[in-house]
Subunit: 193 residues, 2 copies
DNA sequence: GCGGTACTTTGTCGATCGTTCCAGATAGCG
DNA sequence: CGCTATCTGGAACGATCGACAAAGTACCGC
């Protein structure tokens, strides 16, 4: 064997995610990424191959950190309305979080990269579909128990809820008003009645 | 006096809008804009001052062309539910339009530029607020007439509807399925019941 | 402790970025 | 019709882009 890698790969991806969320893909330079990660550009290319490669790694980390826990929460077996509300509140918190203007990577990638890079498009579809599926399972079960409306199919309700989540992220970027976003989320939840 | 300007300014802005919608702000180069508008870079700088200046002009044209007609429709005096549905259908049509992947400039600008340029942020807030206001007036009137629910304030309902519109644009970028988007929009409208 | 190997660093590559400037073309005015 | 102010397209600017090669460094197995 040989010399071991000195830096924490995950920490580097984490730092890169921060930059990409603030500046977008095209707006971020390799220099920005070098400074944020503390790595030379050579190391970045050795580890990720290219700027695109690092972006994909960031996307995967984002999914693992934010989307997966959301899905787990939805599948936790708790009251449907309660967990869905929790997901929405969590999203609003994330949007209005610390004032550092960290856009949602998913929404940003959808707008900026989905049409340019098929690998990005695949990851986005996969992420939203797993979220939709978790919502579907939860809602279909709730419909059987008579806990929510059966006027609309669980599929449509799940898709609508994901749509609302994405919309909240956009609205939050325009005007990060936590109270208002929370009320909009509450209105969305009334569609389950 | 002397020589008059030869090209149509509005047509140039129109062509530039097309490029910005496809490639985003950072992803678009002055070369792209020159080719799209058919103008030399000198003419562009003489007319708009900078890339940012042209982008702001594009944003204003977008508002004039898409947001203003939407507001007019909402204020046309027709049945509330009908005009709101029409607005949503129109948005879905726009999203899934011609397969040329023309992202919504508003959403794209929200994600990519709102946090970098205050003039962009101002325009975005102004545009969404005029849309929210038109919806508010329509909904408040409808509430008085008992046509829609009074469980939620007209303010919240208006904000929620705008949120849903933005969400549809994001979902459309990920998966441009017109039928699905239409069903999600229908679910959103049930919140008025 | 030594050779080999993997990782890090540094410097630099050609290309392209947004911007500016200039020479030539053109239309209105006397 | 000449004069001149304005517009036009393209050349050229310094800076920075993403990417890479070569040199230096630390660790492993032996």
């Amino acid at each position: 064997m040989a010399r071991t890698r000195e830096f924490d790969l995950d920490a580097a991806v984490d730092a890169a995610m921060d930059v990409f969320r603030r500046k977008g893909y095209e707006g971020t330079s390799m220099r920005d990424l070098s400074e944020a990660t503390g790595l030379g550009s050579g190391s970045i290319y050795a580890a990720f191959g290219s700027k695109d490669g690092l972006y994909l790694a960031v996307l995967d980390l984002y999914r693992q950190r934010y989307a997966t826990p959301m899905v787990d929460l939805l599948r936790s077996g708790n009251d449907p309305r309660a967990v869905i509300r929790e997901v929405f509140i969590g999203a609003v918190d994330d949007i209005t979080g610390d004032g550092r203007y960290l856009s949602c990577l998913i929404v940003g990638a959808s707008m900026e990269r989905a049409h340019q890079d098929v690998r990005v498009a695949e990851r986005l579809r996969s992420t939203t579909q797993s979220l939709e599926l978790a919502l579907y399972d939860l809602l279909a079960e709730a419909q059987l128990r008579g806990q929510i409306t059966t006027d609309r199919s669980a599929t449509d309700l799940a898709g609508f809820l994901v749509t609302s989540l994405q919309g909240l992220r956009v609205m939050g970027a325009i005007n990060p008003d936590r109270a208002a976003l929370t009320r909009y989320a509450e209105v969305a939840l009334t569609c389950l009645n």
